[in-house]
Amino acid sequence: MPDLLALYRAMVLIRQFEELVRSLYTGGMVPGLVHLCAGQEANAVGVCAALERSDYIASSHRGHGHCLAKGARPDFLLAEILGRTSGYCGGRSGSLHVSDPATGNLGTNGIVGGGIPLATGAALSAKSRGTRQVAVCFFGDGALNQGLAFEAMNMAAIWSLPVVYVCENNFYGEYTAIEDVTAGKSLTARGEVFDIPSRMIDGMDVLAVLAATEAAVARARTGQGPSFLICNTYRYGGHHVADKQDYKDSEEARAWQAKDPIPRLARQLLEQRIADQPRLDALEQEVAAAIRAAADFAKAAPEPAPQDLASRVYA
C-alpha cells in the first residue's frame, strides 16, 4: 500500500519548486532556458515511487520533477538551476543538464530523446552486472518521433532489458500540437510494434501512474524486459517560462486544470481519512519552508570561479 501522504508531499514539493523557479526566472535570477513541469507532477512522482534509490532514471529537458521525485535535494537542485557552485554539477550545467549518481539520476537532457538510449544502456549495464536495478526513461510526446526512440525500444525488447519507457504526453512539443506531427491513432502502438507491453495511463492520477509503474518495474526486475507507459498529462505553463501559449485554447487548459493531480489526491486523502485538512495545510507550509530554505541557500551560493572553466573536461 503506497504512502499516499508521501506522494502528496512529493507533488506539492515539485509544484512549489516550479513556482519558485518561475518567479526567480521572472526576476532575472535564472540563467538560460527553463522548462517547468507544473501540471505533470503525478508522472514524476508516481513513477519514482515505484523505484529504489539505486534504480536509474534518465530525464528530459522538463526534468526538475523527475530529479526531485528521485530524491534530489531542492537546495542543491535549485543551486544548479541558478548556476551556483553548490549545485549538483557545480553550477556549470543548469536545469538542462543536472545529474546525480547518488540518486541514480543520469541527467536531464537538452536533446529531445537524448536520454532514451542512456537509460536503455543503464539497463543493459544492470543486466550485465547482474544487479536488480531497473532504469526508467522519461520523455515527451515530441520525442516519440525521434528515430532514436524506436531504435532503443527495439534493442530493449530483443535483449529483454530492465527498462521502463515513460512518455509524458502533454499533447504539445513546443508550439506544435501532437496530432500535426504524429501519425497513427494509437500511441501505445509505438511500443507494441516491438511486442513491448504498452499502456495508456491517466497521467493526472498519481495512483494510476504508480500502479502501472509498479507492474512494469516488477516485470523488469524479474527479467521479463521493457515496458512502455504513456501518461496523458498537461503542462500548465508555456514550453519555457517566457512562452505565452497563444497556440492553446483556454477551454482546453481549464479542462486539464480540473484534473489537477494535487487536489485530486488531497480529496482521496481526506475521504480515506489518511489526513485532515489541517494536516495537509501543515504539510504545505512545511514544504513551503523547505522551498524558502532552498531559495535562500541557492541565492547565497557562489558562482563558479573562472579557473573552473577548463576543469573536468577529461577524467
Binding site: P31, G32, L33, G83, G91, R92, S93, G94, L96, H97, N109, G110, I111, V112, G113, G114, G142, A143, N145, Q146, G147, G173, E174, Y175, T176, D180, V181, T182, Y247, E303, P304, A305, P306, D308, L309, A310, V313
Partner: protein
Amino acid sequence: MPEARQITYRAAVLEALFEEMRRDPAVIVMGEDVGAPGGVFKQTEGLYAAFAGRVIDTPISEAGAFGIAVGAAMTGLRPIFEVMFGDFLTLVMDQLVNQAAKIHYMSNGNFTVPLVLRTTMGTGANLGPQHSQSLYAWAAHVPGLKVVIPSTPADAKGLFKSAIRDDNPVLVFEDRLLYGMKGDVPEGEVLVPLGRADIKRRGRDVTVVALGRMVQVALSAAARLAQEGIEAEIVDPRSLVPLDVETLVESVKRTNRALIVDGGSRQYGAAGELAATLGETAFDWLDAPVARLAAADVPIPMSRTLEPLVQPDEGRVTAAVRALIGR
C-alpha cells in the same frame, strides 16, 4: 544601387526569404515550429501565412526530415531546411555528409542538391553545452558542401539570397546574438556572392580574420586599438567554403601580421585551416607567427560567470593584437 535602410539581421534574413520565395515557387521552408509559430527565434515570421503549403512544420525527427529535404532538392524543389540549434547538426550528419554533399559528384553531375541548411550558433544566452556550439568546421571539412557565416544584416540578406540560388547544399550559420543587430540593408535585388571576402575595416598594422559575430567583436576591438595608434584591418571571409584566400593573403602582405578570431572550438577548428593557409601562402611576408584566438576547448558551461569566458571577446582580441604587434 538600391536604397538602404536600417533593419535587423533577423529582418534582413527574413526579407531574403520572402523575396526568394516570391521569385521562385520551388523554394520551400522546413523545420520545427517554423510554420504558424513563426520559428522559435521569430526567424520565419509571416512566411507561413504568405506562402500557403510551402512552409512545413516537421516533427522532431531531424535526420529524417533533413533527408526528405535532400530528396526534395534532387527532384525539383529548393528547400531551406532549418536546424534549430547548430548543436543538432549531429542529427543530420549522415544525410548531410553521405548523401547531400556527395550526390552531385556521385551522379557525375546528373543530380543537383540545391538546398540551404540554416542553423544558429553561439554563446551569450546561457543555454549550456548542448545549445551553444559553433560547429561549422565539421561542414567545412566535407567536400561538396558550402559554408557561409554572415556577420552583418546586409551580408545576411545578400548571402542568403545567393545561397538559395546556389545549386549546391549550402550551410548558413547565424549567430543568435546577431539577430537583434541593426544595420544598413539595401532593398531588393542585392546578392553577395559566396566565396568573396570583405574587408570590414582598413588598417595597416595587423590583419584580423574574423568569422560571424567575431567580426563585430573584432571591429570593437579595432576601435579601441585605434586609440592606441594600432590600425587593425578586419577581414571577413563570409564563406569558409569557398574560401577567398586571395583577399586574405593580400591583406597579410600589406600588414605582415595576422590574427584569426573564431567562435568555434580551437582544437582542429576553422582557425587552424585559416592559420595554416596564411602560413603557407604568405610565409615570406609574415613578421610573426599567425596567431589564433578561438573558443576555449571545453563543453560550454551555462554558468553566468563561465560562459563569457568561452568565446573571444573584445578584451581578448585587443590583448591578442597587442601581443602580436609587440612581438
